[in-house]
């Protein structure tokens, strides 16, 4: 089933649409990309289809959303041909996703430590005690200062960034082949963010994990990823090496950079994007 020469993830011709009261939203249009054991960034405008792309790979688009693709393959295995049960195993063991809304994906009435421990037990069939120790270890690994207290806390008792780190801890437990991280560090201060990214970086370098990193932090993507896809209105409009993002050619990408506030700049009105209908063509 596993083809050693196939890319880790191969997506071809992905389309996703939703019906809404004011018409059909074509959220993803003919998106194709492939990923090796590397860090691939996806940047782009709010609503351009980044999260939808990630969710479609994991078959997490609920009806009335409609997904179609020529190919969504993990190491050569066509995911679209799997049963719902087989897909659950893939989601548990081989692909993890950190969702954009961390608290929304945690169970609000269960202590966060128990949620992590349970995820570990499902994965490893470890005993309760071992799972508890592992959960505490994961909480310290993601730089939670007081893991004992946070283990016993409920999701609403965590700060925004603590919730995000709990989600990351849970997703890293199965040592996935592929991690899809949707704005995983947007609620973290820059120092904790850098420490979390270093953990993910190690997983890519040392265990050969593949990473899809969805973010609108251009400088972060440029400094952290290997390659970047730029999405606009559901399409991939440009692909480049992360280190060359600042020299990107597409006017949309160039426009994005000009919108950034800078520490050294004054308080003038920020440039905004003039969207050109021709970008949709």
């Amino acid at each position: 089933m596993v083809d050693a020469t196939a890319p880790l993830l191969d997506v071809k011709g992905l389309n996703v649409s939703f019906r809404t009261p004011s018409g059909v939203v074509q959220a993803v249009r003919d998106v194709s990309f492939s990923l090796g054991r590397e860090r691939l960034g996806i940047v782009g405008e709010s609503g351009s289809g980044k999260s939808t792309t990630g969710r479609a790979i994991l078959r997490l688009i609920p009806p009335p959303g409609v997904v179609s693709a020529e190919r969504i393959a993990l190491s050569g295995l066509e995911l679209q041909s799997l049963s719902e049960r087989e897909m659950r195993t893939i989601r548990g063991d081989r692909i993890s996703m950190v969702m954009q809304d961390p608290k929304y994906s945690l169970n609000p009435v269960m202590r966060v430590g128990e949620q992590i421990a349970e995820a570990y037990r499902l994965h490893s069939r470890a005993g309760r005690r071992e799972a508890r120790d592992k959960a505490l270890e994961m909480l310290s690994a993601v730089r939670i200062r007081d893991p004992q207290r946070v283990y016993r806390a409920f999701p609403h008792e965590l700060s925004g960034g603590m919730g995000q780190r709990v989600m990351i801890a849970m997703m890293l437990i199965p040592s996935p082949d592929l991690l899809i991280a949707d704005e995983p560090t947007s609620a973290l201060d820059v120092t904790v963010r850098m420490q979390i990214l270093a953990i993910i970086d190690d997983m890519v370098r040392e265990r050969g994990m593949g990473l899809v990193f969805i973010s609108h932090d251009l400088n972060l993507v440029a400094s952290f990823c290997d390659r970047v896809l730029i999405m606009y209105a559901g399409r991939v409009v440009e692909e480049c090496r992360a280190s060359e993002l600042a020299a990107a050619r597409h006017p949309y990408t160039r426009g994005l950079f000009s919108c950034l506030p800078r520490i050294e700049a004054g308080k003038k009105t920020l440039p905004t994007l003039e969207r050109d209908p021709a970008w949709l063509a």
Binding site: S46, G161, L218, N219, I263
Partner: protein
Amino acid sequence: MIEVSNLDVRFGHARSAVHAVRGVSFTVPRGATFGLVGESGSGKSTVLRAIAGLNPDWTGDVRVGGEAQGRSRSRAFYKRVQMVFQDPYGSLHPRHTVDRALGEPLRIHGIGDIERRVIAALEAVGLGRAFRFRYPHQLSGGQRQRVAIARAMILEPEVLLLDEPTSALDVSVQAEVLNLLAGLRSEHALTFVLVSHDLAVVSHMCDRLAVMNHGRVVEELTVDALRTGQATQPYTRQLIAASEGYDRETARGLVDYV
């Protein structure tokens, strides 16, 4: 406009007790924007929630517009002071349309002309009327955050407490929202307290800022001092160094300050 002195906030008891905010004081004049930055979990959102009256367990002194504030707040208070929450998913009711989320505060405060105001508020945040009858799950993360900002502004408050208002937005929408906020501030002499992890956003919007770590303000400085590298505390300096993008070596060298 806002005076906070010796604010202390605690949660829970015994083993799970947290002293989330420890002796925080700052003052924000009318029309100014004050930034709060610092470690994740250091108490920034808790400070905003205490000012907004969303958290009864605090001690110290909180004044808004010269009036000392007690544990609970009146309806008139919420006409003057609005908050944009860090987590837009949690703050929007999942079964209410955008139209209802924006219309409700107007109805509660007995303000008329609802339809026109709702559409104007949506347009101001770059969404437009096509979004009016959508539910939160039909919106992207950034679209939800814009609805949350529109809802806070629809009552035309004097004080806006902004908790990471643009961290879920791409940079083009962020620029639009920051321009919008700056425009409102100069038109109506609005006062903002802005929590952000992005030092560039803080420099762009604020006059002064406080740097928090572990429940305390470790340093208060002007944005000019931040820009010209005059931060004195090691924690602040580390924060500035880490804001320059990912670097493996820098990541290894980071230390915890208590």
